[in-house]
């Protein structure tokens, strides 16, 4: 092996390493240093999924704009309304600051009771720009897995306590309409490349969420 070939080989290796570092840095530099949000150690590309009545909501939903994703259900008495009112406050702060509010996507994990039309009305009650969507549990669960969401159905047992079971588990007939859902209440931030990049852990403050979003 002659010397010049070795130098070229070393050069190529060095350049590739440099290239990888630059690429890596570029990816990281796209994310500001957040005050409140927890940045993911690696950016998680969202999987293929199909939600909506006509499977119109796919991965493309998250392309080209920042998104905030929250999982819940329309019969949620406290947590989901609190979150959506709070996100409306965030939207107001962003508007005041002249910044674009990320699209808010409320995903119902309760397709048995919720449908897309109703979820649109539901989301618009809080803010006309918010989206409310659902679909087959198998499709929802693809996103659930990517975001690391957990949710369970809770029904009122005879002893007056709520019992949690997996969503698809059968529950007493008289609870078919009134069951609750225990669910993660993190707010997920998805970048315009459709990657899950950071999460806001509860309790959520509109001001603090906006503070981080203003850095985007």
């Amino acid at each position: 092996m002659n010397k010049s070939k070795a130098i070229i080989a070393a050069g190529i290796i060095g350049l590739s390493a440099l290239g990888a570092m630059v690429a890596n840095n570029m990816q990281q530099s796209s994310l500001p240093t957040f005050t409140t949000a927890y940045a993911q150690p690696t950016q998680i590309a969202l999987p293929e999924f199909e939600l909506g009545d006509n499977q119109e909501y796919t991965k493309a939903l998250f392309k080209g704009k920042w998104s905030l994703v929250f999982f819940g259900y329309a019969s949620c008495p406290d947590i989901c309304p609190t979150e959506l009112y709070n996100l409306n406050h965030v939207a107001n702060i962003m508007t005041e600051a002249g910044k674009t509010m990320p699209q808010v996507v409320f995903i119902s994990v309760d397709p048995v009771r919720d449908d897309n039309k109703m979820l649109t009305t539901y989301a618009h009650f809080y803010n006309d720009d918010f989206m409310g969507i659902t679909g087959a549990t198998s499709e929802i669960d693809k996103l659930v897995a990517s975001f690391g969401v957990i949710y369970q159905k809770a029904f009122l047992a005879n002893n007056g306590k709520y019992v949690s079971v997996p969503y698809s588990s059968p529950i007493p007939e008289d609870q078919r309409e009134s069951y609750l859902i225990n669910h993660s209440s993190r707010l997920y931030l998805v970048n315009p490349e459709g990657q899950y990049v950071a999460a806001f852990a509860p309790p959520h403050s509109a001001k603090k969420i906006a503070e981080d979003l203003l850095k985007l």
Binding site: A74, P77, D78, T121
Partner: protein, 169 residues
Amino acid sequence: MQKSIITTLIATALFSTAPTFAAEKTNMMIMDAWVRAAPPSAKVQAAFFTVMNHSNKPIVITDVEAQGFGRSELHLSGKKDGMMTMQKQQQVTIPANAVFQFKPGSYHVMLLEPNQIAAPGELVNVSFTLLNGEKFSTQMPVKRDNSKTKMDHSKMDHSKMDHANMKHN
């Protein structure tokens, strides 16, 4: 008794809103009560309020009923196993000489099986039963948000809120 009247007066002045209810026998007041507005398609609503116990004994709320709703329950939202959960409370104890808040993300009265979702501006009559058998009721206004009250008891930060952009339908 005089002390309690003074306390009531001071509290009234402090909160700058009249108490929505003051129990006669049990020395307590319910203030700042509201039912959170929900989309017409919603199946539940929640009621929030502040209870002031002016007595030297704990007050125990054992039951709650709301006009226009088939079922009402005392609930506590909280975090368990990484999920937000709600647990039905058989009773809620208001400690002696304490101010106790039913607020979003914490204690609340869950209103289920609505005849019709209560709209902003309406009043919902909510009745409470205490452990000593005493019953009382209070009217709770339906609001989209309670942040406009002069004294915000919640820990939420609304300092940057722009009310001008809020929907008021």
